[in-house]
Amino acid sequence: MTLNKTARGAALGAAVVAASFATQTVAGGHGIDLTGKTVEWVIPFSETGGSAKWANFYAPLLSEALPGQPTVVVKFMPGAGSTKGANWFQEQSYDDSEGTLIFGSSGSTQFPYLLGDPRVRYEYNDWNVVLASGTGGVAYLPPAMSAKMDGMDATALQGEDFIYGSQGATRLDLVPLLAWEMLGLNVEPVFGIKGRGDGRLMFERGEANIDYQTSSSYLKGVTPLVEAGTAVPMMSWGALDADGNIVRDPTFPDMPTFKEVCDATPACETSGEKWDAWKAFFIAGFPAQKMVFLPAGASNDAIVTYTAAFEAIKARGDFAEISGARLGKYPQMTGDEAAGALNSATNVPDAAKTFVVDWLKDRYGVSLDG
């Protein structure tokens, strides 16, 4: 057992060296040395949100993995649904920070960007991605509602009144709200809640009767309810395979995806503009939900250094163990993979964007273009 572990560790170590060596040679850079420096990791949210947990998880690991072991501190710059911090980051130049400034964006930063929100003064294409972290989501129901479903067919739920505790239709919540609408469910969002945890509490109190959580929150907060028999999973949003198809979420292999449920429900179609719009915003919101960027104009050396550091973290022998509980079994992408994830998360087809903007206007009266 011990021998096994050691051998595995050694193999991984070799892989890390090989990987970082490979990136370096390919890119032809020498990397930057951060000895004695302090790296500031700016998070455009408050200390209390999901992005804070994500950054606090990575920060000490990043400190160990960067050349020169700099101190890595997480700085919080909340405001205007994260657009304030992102606007600030847009104005930072690489020359001022020389690799000591990185920025962590989230789905809540991506959605306003995609929807043409007037508060957005930032441009993802100017920034340099060095890590993209994915996640998933699960929708669940009270047992009485779940029992009405005919296998994966949700048709019998179409006559019910659903209440959902929501943070706002223009946020990540638009993915579940649109999905439920496609299934023909009559879901009334109750806005004004502060976080998804409050939404779950509303479900537990019996005030809401449909809800969704991101994967890690589902594992922590809802699995005990499922075991106690007060909640039943309905579907996961799924995950993306290498060809961009929606497949079962590796964290929840026994759970049908929304695509399967949609296929089984006559009212719902897995093609057409509605489906395309849903899929585009799902991809923007979940498989590449959180990303780390270097500012505009970053040198190739800096990009290579950070990419290698995140690769070294991923290759740690204990990474699966320590990340499983906090990040779930999702890809932590670097290099070309991260660039691909960034591309699919920030380039939504115009048709999908138009559809969602119109849908938000018709359904919730939200006007984004003034």
Binding site: E47, T48, K53, V73, G79, F191, G197, K220, P224, A325
Partner: protein, 688 residues
């Protein structure tokens, strides 16, 4: 049954976990660090925990918990120093302590007030822990009974405390509370994202313009730190500065801290009741304990026979809130541990930090009681133990620290301006924080001058968002229930808990209004001429009318963002109009025309505007030179010119002040607000 089969063995395990020298050592370390951060107003648990976070990764869980809990537990104890000695609410938990604690300090009884407060804190913490030990086993189903209508009722009950704190003219108190609520709704509505009191085209303004900067700052609403410091701290500092004396004009009374402990013991039952109030309100997720101290203060007033001393140094006014605010921390653990829903900002970081501990196998949330009952109990009793350690240190230090009140205020004031500017700047890390602080400070000064209840304003501000959210949500959910059937809807709205809370609220309002006239929460104020109070009333009225008109313009589809501000502004406009009529009819001697300038005319040796100009000067200099350079000039000039000390003394003071500020910022890893200069020249930290 549960208790004997489940809890007792877990309690034993918990004791085994805690009672080790190394764990206790970490706890003491956490307490000392918490004290160092907590004595500065505005820097509470969030700043402290952020300091610890980098060390939590992979740390032994029990040691990490001891360190963090030591830090969190001591904040509501240590913030009492600022509340009592300076009249600055150290955190939302000790707002009410200011009302009687600060007058006691002015009378030379600071040590007595402090030690009574600390004894109450300690006791509250222990009662809270004892209560939780039993309650936590049955808490889950009970907490789930508190649905949105119940939460709304508790919020309304909290608002009813305005009745007691309204001051001599009840209508002024009511308008002050409404004013607080309307300041609280500024920014994006929680439902449809409609902007309130900010022109909506500012969102579309160019980056870097004043309009867009103001939008980005105000869109999320004003922060409690800014409003608390502005409404209480700035007026007190300015007032003391104008009188040019020390906080207390008498030498400290003898017997100091022992007499405070005796006071606490004489009122032990009040302390018990307020502790229970603290735990129970703290347990309910969603309110974050910001009402606890007001409810406890209200209870202390209602159960005291001779109410005349409240506001001018009644010890029961200190014991009540202080007993409740430490107990609240214990209660706040219930939603945090059992539901994974943080009861406050510091609890949210606490949850995040727990995930970093060890191998991350402690999972806060519904499974906590089944899987980690021993850890749960360890947390509860670490909290109690931290209270004991923290209180002992605080009591030991209170005699010495109380001497601060005898230092000439001219020397203390620049230091305080420095601290509250830094604290305010932590909330948005923006120069706008200082602008907002000065603006709210001016409002606070005027409210203090004309005897408009500042506590009522603050209660309104704190409860504005919960009141709006819960009201809208309850209505929406109730509509859905009523669509199903009449019975289901009625059952939802009028649950037994709602009815009980409704009765308590009505009694509290009726009793409170009858007693309000005797309670002068901010001391006696003489009436002056008609002109000045009337002008202030007109300014308030203008704001209220603007708020009403602004709410009116919110379009129909976003009616949920419109109803609350329009309702509150509507009532307030009517109230203010009645006041206008009254002011026109009444004679000048009527309490309606209270004007502190008249009361304090003899003791004031400096004008209001020249004093305030110092602070405005610091702000203007910061906008040009950045905070640290501005601070250097400000400190030196103030000590040299205003306090009349030698240049050498002023220079030494300045160096010490800046060194202290940089030390704090380096420790907490914060930057300072940059000015215009910094946009042209690159300067090294801390000048950036």
């Amino acid at each position: 049954m549960d208790f004997f089969t489940l809890a007792l063995p877990a309690l034993g395990d918990a004791a085994g976990l805690i009672l080790q020298p190394v764990v206790l050592g970490y706890l003491v370390m956490g307490v000392v660090m918490g004290l160092c951060v907590g004595v500065f107003p505005g820097l509470g648990g969030i700043a402290g925990l952020s300091l610890l976070l980098p060390f939590m990764f992979g740390m032994d869980p029990v040691l990490g918990l001891a360190l963090m809990i030591g830090m969190v537990a001591v904040v509501p104890t240590s913030d009492t120093f600022a509340s009592v000695l300076m009249g600055i609410p150290g955190s939302s938990a000790s707002q009410a302590t200011v009302l009687d604690g600060f007058p006691m300090a002015k009378k030379g009884e600071a040590a007595r007030a402090l030690s009574a407060a600390f004894a109450s804190s300690l006791f509250g913490g222990l009662v809270g822990a004892a209560f939780l030990t039993l309650f936590i086993l049955v808490a889950r189903p009970i907490v789930l009974e508190f649905r949105t209508p119940e939460l709304l009722m508790i919020t309304i009950f909290g608002l009813s405390m305005v009745g007691i704190l309204a001051g001599r003219v009840a209508l002024k108190g009511l308008v002050a509370a409404a004013l607080g609520m309307l300041v609280g709704v500024i920014g994006e509505g929680a439902f449809e994202g409609e902007l309130r009191m900010i022109p909506s085209d500012w969102v579309y303004a160019d980056s870097g313009t004043a309009a867009f900067t103001v939008y980005q700052y105000m869109g999320d609403g004003l922060k409690l730190v800014i409003v608390g410091l502005g409404i209480f701290a700035i007026p007190e500092i300015v007032a003391l500065l104008r009188q040019d004396r020390s906080i207390s004009d008498r030498s400290p009374l003898g017997g100091g801290w022992l007499s405070g402990v005796r006071d606490w013991f004489a009122n032990i039952w009040l302390s018990v009741r307020c502790s229970i109030i603290g735990v129970v309100v703290g347990v309910i997720p969603g309110l974050g304990g910001s009402v606890v101290d007001w409810i406890a203060y209200g209870h202390a007033v209602q159960t005291t026979k001779d109410k005349s001393k409240f506001g001018s140094g009644e010890i029961r006014g200190v014991i009540g809130p202080e007993s409740s605010n430490n107990a609240k921390e214990g209660g706040g653990l219930v939603p945090t541990l059992l539901f994974g829903i943080p009861g406050s900002g510091s609890m949210a970081i606490f949850i995040g930090a727990i995930a970093l501990l060890g191998s991350g196998n402690i999972e806060v949330g519904p499974s906590m009681l089944q899987n980690n009952l021993d850890i749960t109990y360890a947390i509860v009793w670490l909290l109690a133990l931290a209270n004991v350690v923290g209180t002992l240190i605080c009591i030991a230090a209170s005699g010495g620290i109380a001497r601060l009140t005898t230092i000439p205020f001219g020397l203390l004031a620049p230091f305080l301006f420095m601290i509250i500017s830094f604290a305010a700047f932590q909330s948005g890390q923006n120069l706008m924080d200082l602008v907002a602080l000065l603006g709210i400070g001016l409002l606070g000064i005027m409210m203090r001058r004309f005897d408009w209840s500042r506590p009522a304003f603050l209660i309104g501000f704190v409860l504005s968002n919960p009141a709006e959210n819960y009201a809208n949500q309850a209505v929406q959910i109730a509509q859905s229930r009523f669509r199903k059937s009449m019975g289901e809807g009625m059952e939802y709205i009028f649950s037994p808990i709602v009815i009980v809370l409704l009765i308590i609220t009505v009694i509290s309002v009726v009793v409170g209004l009858r007693q309000a006239k005797q309670i002068m929460a901010e001391g006696e104020v003489q009436a002056g001429t008609k002109r000045a109070p009337f002008i202030f009333l007109l300014v308030v009225l203008a704001f209220l009318v603007t708020a009403f008109a602004n709410a009116w313009t919110i379009p129909d589809y976003a009616w949920r963002d419109r109803v609350f501000p329009m309702f509150v502004a509507g009532i307030a406009v009517v109230g203010a109009l009645v006041l206008v009529v009254q002011m026109m009819i009444r004679e000048e001697a009527h309490p309606l025309f209270a004007d502190r300038e008249v009361t304090d005319a003899e003791v004031n040796s400096h004008g209001l505007w020249s004093t305030l100009a110092w602070f405005a000067g610091l702000l203007a200099l910061t906008a040009m030179l950045g905070f640290i350079l501005a601070l250097g000039l400000f400190l030196f000039a103030f000590i040299k010119v205003r306090a009349g000390r030698s240049a050498g003394f002023a220079a030494a003071y300045t160096v010490a002040g800046i060194a202290f500020m940089c030390g704090m910022a380096a420790l907490l890893n914060r930057d300072f607000p940059p000015g215009l200069l910094q946009s042209y020249v690159d300067l090294p930290w801390p000048l950036t």
